[in-house]
Symmetry: C2
């Protein structure tokens, strides 16, 4: 159970393995390395500026996150994607994240509320200037942290661990289909409603909003015509 992801964002990587791990993870989530693509060690080690053994180790770590799959004696591949898989991710996330949110609302203290308001504010600021890839990265980061702080007061380390895996998985799908969203939605309003329900300790309401919030993301991808989606997935 490795990463407090909030902290990870700040701490610099101390080994080449970790640098390569992060760079690879970023490239997979952003889609620069396409789903199902073969990851040839001899080729990649030059791109990432590390030795073969180091790169293999980074790839092994990515198996934890289910972003890379390996098959004995046949090397590594980027984890494949499918609509069925994304549906599974969304449903499992709804189940775990709603439960974690309920616990967090039940246990959260004043400091938690303050963190939550702060995280929401930073997210809202990033939402204003949503143009350019740099601003986009900033929004992604702050969105992740907002969701993380929401459940931060949940005492179960395992729930939070599994949720951090699922979050990155979902982010990958979301990015793959980003500029194709056919379902109009105001994410800012959704986040705001979530914030207020949480602060007011309305657990049922908060869970319902969060559930819809997650499922809407899946339906957005589901609504994309198959051909368009496949083209994007292969790019």
């Amino acid at each position: 159970m490795n990463n407090n992801v909030v902290a990870e964002g700040l701490a610099e990587p101390k080994t080449l393995v970790e640098s390569a791990y992060r760079a690879l993870r970023r490239d997979i989530i952003e889609g620069n390395l396409a789903p199902g693509e073969k990851l040839r060690v001899e080729h990649l080690k030059d791109n990432y500026g590390v030795g073969a053994g180091t790169l293999r180790e980074a790839l092994s770590l990515l198996i934890s996150d289910a972003l890379v799959v390996s098959q004995g004696q046949r090397g590594f591949r980027v984890a494949p994607v499918s609509l069925a898989d994304f549906e599974d991710i969304a449903q499992t996330r709804v189940m775990l994240e709603c439960e974690a949110l309920r616990q967090s609302i039940a246990m959260g203290d004043d400091a938690w509320e303050a963190d939550l308001v702060a995280a929401f504010h930073r997210l809202a600021k990033a939402e204003e200037k949503r143009i350019g890839s740099e601003a986009r990265e900033e929004w992604e980061e702050r969105n992740r942290i907002f969701h993380e702080v929401l459940i931060a007061a949940c005492p179960s380390r395992w729930l939070k661990h599994f949720l951090s895996i699922l979050y990155f998985q979902a982010e990958r799908y979301r990015r793959l289909s980003l500029y194709l969203q056919p379902i109009p939605r105001d994410i800012h309003v959704e986040h705001e409603a979530l914030l207020h329900a949480a602060i007011n300790r309305e657990a049922d309401k908060a869970a319902a909003i969060l559930s819809e919030h997650i499922l809407l993301t899946f339906r957005s991808v589901q609504a994309i015509p198959a051909e368009q989606l496949n083209a994007k997935l292969r790019a």
Copy 2:
């Protein structure tokens, strides 16, 4: 999302990395490598008969299962244990495994029922001759498979993936406290009740039994006097 564990039991490892991975996992779960113990690559590579890089890779894979933790530039350690952690594992497992069981009961077909009866029968056979470490290993294997088959008809791959991680974690705690069980229980009866409730499609009843089944294991460990437990954990 790597392992169909049922299949893994049969398939031979095709690489040295995988051999070392399995040997290490076994030694950690069985307690031959104590919780918190430092895992020195230079020392272990001889024990497991592989090179340093190969062993590092195997250790990286074990991070997926949260059986090993690493800290940049400070090497690998066996994941530490605590009563609080085991409680978290048990509670999270109850939540996920009951849901998976409900789905499995709702979706399971005749073939699933047949697999379940067969798995129970093999487990019962192993329960009879429960003396000797070899028979014990057999029972452990068949117990794991019984639990796996119970939820096999659940369609969520992610739920099953997380549960397989939690199962190994729980097994480790269970073994650490094996010969100290102060709470008397008839595990055979518990399994039998679980089997019948599942076959009869009584989801609520099955979930209740499973929940008790898992929590009893935690309470067994919890009831062990602290000094005795600590001595065992350090061994």
